[in-house]
């Protein structure tokens, strides 16, 4: 298992390098101009000078090389400096965002807490709701519970978050005034009141996203449980005289978790990617909002870095999912 993990990790290096090249080329081939948001009253020569100041005058491969050095060599040094108080990165040029003219990673670090709180919490809530619903729905297939569960998950799956989000705002912020419609990213939780305030502003975005996540995962869970419930080993277990609780929750559940674990693990990178639409609707201003505003502003270093981090996480969580198979099913061995 360890050699498998190491082999996969080593193999992922060329994969990631290739991904970073593809992202870079795609972004550079795409039409667009970082100066597009500058008012047209600003003369073209001034815009040209601004482009040159951003380093756009250089050729593509020079810019790619610079980004590689900054991302893989200088940024880790900054991280080491941050934790150990060393000065490796002093005076070295980091990945700089075109919009803000500040280091990209600083902004990412600033944005992560909001995203992890809201999107991460909604994922946890979604999974916690989805698993029991999926299990019960499958065990009592076509019961009232199953029908209601199916209906709600179809609703959650098919109604887009930009609709549910705005609907909730209109009902709970505008009409009832219970929850704020704008997320306060500067709120510091240091007392009971601020904790309640944090809870209140998280309710609506978390609900919207949790509904969506839960719908998706509960359908997978249900389908996977149904596949296993009719298998021979289940009949054997029952014939052995095991209690229903042990049959369902130990034998069937463990086997049914394998495809569900893949779905859950591959969903985790999306948590870090933020929820572009929901963040925009509730003004959570996390990673998703950062990505979309950078795209709109043609801030290539920011988009490049963010998409590459997502790629990194996807590769990583693929590996984690593979390793988890082995834990769930002892028959699966990679060596």
């Amino acid at each position: 298992m360890l050699t498998f993990t190491i082999r996969r990790l080593v193999l992922s290096i060329p994969t990631l390098l290739f991904i970073s090249l593809v992202i870079f080329l795609l972004l550079n081939l795409a039409p667009g101009d970082p100066m597009a948001n500058v008012p047209i009253t600003v003369p073209d020569e001034v815009k040209q000078r601004m482009r040159e100041a951003l380093g756009l005058g250089e050729s593509v491969y020079v810019r790619f090389y610079k980004w590689m050095v900054q991302f893989f060599w200088i940024e880790p040094q900054v991280l080491i400096d941050h934790y150990f108080g060393t000065t490796f990165s002093e005076g070295k040029l980091r990945v700089i965002s075109w919009q803000t003219r500040s280091p990209v990673m600083d902004i990412v670090v600033q944005r992560l807490p909001q995203t992890l709180w809201v999107v991460g919490m909604s994922y946890v809530v979604g999974v916690l709701i989805a698993l029991p619903i999926g299990i019960i729905s499958a065990y009592r297939q076509y019961s009232v519970f199953d029908q209601v569960g199916t209906f709600i998950s179809m609703l959650g799956f098919s109604v887009p978050t930009f609709f549910t989000g705005v609907l909730l705002i209109v009902i709970f912020s505008v009409k009832l005034g219970w929850f704020p419609s704008i997320y306060d990213t500067t709120l510091v939780v240091n007392s009971w009141e601020t904790f309640l305030a944090q809870l209140r502003q998280m309710v609506m975005p978390v609900f919207v996203l949790a509904l969506y996540n839960a719908s998706q995962i509960s359908r997978f869970m249900r389908a996977s449980m149904l596949d296993n419930l009719n298998q021979d080993y289940v009949r054997t277990a029952r014939a052995k005289g095991l209690s229903e609780k042990v049959v369902v929750l130990v034998h069937v559940l463990r086997n049914s978790m394998i495809p569900v674990v893949t779905v859950i693990a591959l969903g985790v990178p999306q948590v870090f990617g933020g929820a572009i639409i929901t963040e925009q609707v509730f003004k959570v201003n996390g990673i998703g909002q950062l990505l979309i505003t950078s795209l709109q502003a043609n801030d290539l270093p920011m988009v490049q870095t963010l998409t590459f981090i997502f790629a990194l996480l996807i590769v990583l969580f693929n590996l984690i999912a593979d390793v988890l198979y082995g834990v769930l099913d002892p028959r699966i061995r990679y060596d």
Binding site: P43, Q99, T100, Q289
Partner: protein, 567 residues
């Protein structure tokens, strides 16, 4: 500042403060929401409106525009003019005297060294300064003493108010930015994210593209202002959400630039938590006529250049008929409501420069048809599209992707088809359309279409540079890498002579007369530019926020120091 003046100031403020209406910081907290979030607070590095306006809470120019478009002194004692001796008789220099006792928010005095440094910062060739056009005419900044500074121009400036004027050219602190000149400008993240200024507020926390937290400037020159102790400047979301936060839920006090459908805004205002304010500037939504042939059959060297005149649009009758067929009142009603008014002028304001040109305001479909008949455009083959000499009256109409613009396109297409003109519509993502990428065929400069619609305006109140955009020879072309201001490829030696004359005329009456004449040449005489709507600005503030004076000539929140809570 001397100790004496400090003591005097302190004494004066103790005496005066009981008389004042409000004390500094007595009204608590105020919230502003901009649906586009500022990504930096240095207006010299980012040319975007959102950054410039956010920075105007901290950074101030020497003189700026008030809501009527009049210049008012801010850091300078008075507006220099030829009459008061501030502008030299030969129009080559401008003398500013700073107000007495000005302090930066960190408590150090503001001197003319800071003023001179600001120019040095923006004029540095490697800095990529977004406002360098404000400093283009400067030859030298001469520091006479701590409070007097003279701006010397390269050549006589009939309208000298651009350097250190308005929200785009505020004064920055030398001590803070001294290490940030030229190529090192982006490295000064702390300075760019929290500029020390003289304005009513000081940044306590800046999160790019998200939120700014501010508090009252303890060293602001008016001891009773600002009335608010703290401010949150939230960014992000969309215009609807921003409007809702002020007009319906009351979470914020001020929402910027609510570009929404008129009925949506009216519904929101019925929420009863706030009210809408609007004002007009110089932004005009217009249709630009291409005087050159954009046909893809032509070679790349001559396509859409003056070597290939447009086969249809060079006919004045066609251009005039296209304008006559449009019902501008309906466009305003559908697209802008109280934020728009029909116009026939390229320069709709300020009043002294606005021509009395109103002949386009009434739609005249029959007149347009007659005009086309007369010019020989008839529907000879009965397909509903007029033609002449084998050329069909068929146009490609492009604009940027935007709900209102697509509504306008559909309406205009309908009106034009009523007069026998066939129109093909096209819309292009704004970041590409306005992107200026010479490699793209879809930019508004390249103009590979017959007509295109967008909005443009000019900085400040003087239209000289704006009217000079239509000079012959400044058109985008392959040899200029498709950069250039004369989008229509309009070319008229008489007009160019008027541009030169305007650049030499200092007398306001003569300038205004000339500018009106030039406006008329471009609009009602030649229909090169077909103005549609004079677009105003609509913003909203809560019912409890007082002192708002919406300003379209400068930063919208230019007078945040005067805002207060209505109790």
């Amino acid at each position: 500042m001397t100790l004496k003046s400090l003591l005097l100031g302190a004494a004066a403020s103790t005496v005066l403060s009981p008389m004042a209406m409000a004390e500094r910081g007595s009204d608590g907290h105020v919230g502003i929401i901009y649906w586009q979030a500022p990504s930096s607070l240095n207006p010299y590095l980012s040319g975007g409106t959102k950054e410039i306006e956010a920075a105007s809470l901290m950074l101030e120019p020497l003189i700026r525009f008030d809501p009527t478009g009049k210049l008012v002194p801010f850091l300078a004692e008075e507006v220099p003019t030829v009459e008061n001796g501030g502008v030299s008789a030969d129009l080559t220099s401008l003398t500013y005297t700073l107000k007495e006792g000005l302090l930066w928010s960190d408590g150090t005095p503001l001197t003319t060294a800071d003023v001179a440094f600001t120019a040095e910062y923006c004029m540095h060739p490697e800095g990529g300064c977004a406002q360098s056009h404000k400093y283009d005419s400067v030859k030298e900044i001469e520091v006479v003493d701590d409070r007097t500074v003279v701006v010397h121009f390269k050549e006589p400036q009939p309208y000298p108010y651009s350097t250190f004027v308005g929200n785009q050219a505020p004064i920055i602190q030398k001590a803070q930015f001294a290490e940030c000149l030229g190529a090192r400008a982006p490295e000064c993240t702390d300075a760019n994210f929290g500029p020390i200024g003289t304005g009513p507020f000081v940044v306590t926390d800046f999160r790019p593209n998200d939120v700014i937290q501010l508090e009252a400037n303890p060293n602001y020159r008016d001891p009773d202002k600002p009335a608010f102790a703290t401010m949150t400047f939230k960014g992000g979301g969309d215009a609807t959400a921003a409007g809702r936060a002020v007009l319906e839920t009351g979470e914020f006090d001020y929402a910027w630039n609510l570009q929404l459908a008129p009925d949506v805004l009216a519904n929101m205002e019925a929420g009863g938590k706030g009210k809408l304010v609007s004002a007009f500037g110089t932004l005009v939504e217009r249709i630009e006529m291409n005087m050159t042939d954009p046909s893809p059959d032509l070679s790349r060297e001559i396509r859409a250049t003056r070597e290939a005149p447009h086969p249809i649009l060079t006919d004045l009758a066609v251009r005039k008929a296209l304008s006559m067929a449009i019902d501008r009142d309906l466009l305003v009603e559908i697209g802008y409501g109280q934020a728009g008014r029909p116009t026939c002028n390229l320069v709709p304001g300020p009043e002294v420069y606005a021509s009395d040109n109103t002949d386009c305001l009434t739609q005249d479909v029959e007149g347009a048809k007659a005009l086309l008949e007369e010019a020989g455009w008839v529907d000879s083959d009965g397909d509903g599209v007029r033609d002449k000499d084998g050329k069909k009256l068929s146009l490609l109409f492009q604009t940027s992707t935007n709900a209102v613009r697509q509504d306008f396109q559909a309406l205009i297409k309908q009106w034009w088809s009523d007069i026998g003109v066939e129109t093909e519509l096209r819309n292009i993502d704004a970041s590409i359309f306005f992107g200026g990428d010479a490699g793209s065929d879809d930019t508004f400069q390249k103009f590979y279409a017959d007509v295109e619609m967008y909005a443009n305006n000019f900085d400040g109140t003087d239209p000289q540079a704006y009217l000079a955009r239509y000079r012959c020879g400044t058109e985008p072309s392959p040899s200029s890498q498709w950069q250039g201001t004369n989008i229509n490829r309009f070319c008229d030696p008489e007009y160019d002579a008027m541009i030169d004359e305007l650049a030499k005329t200092a007398d306001l009456d003569k300038r205004s007369e000339l500018a009106k004449k030039m406006n008329d040449v471009l609009t009602k005489d030649t229909y090169t530019v077909v103005p549609l709507v004079d677009r105003g600005r609509v913003s909203a503030h809560s019912l409890s926020l007082g002192g708002v004076a919406l300003n379209t000539w400068d930063s919208e929140i230019w007078n945040a120091a005067d805002w207060f809570r209505i109790k």
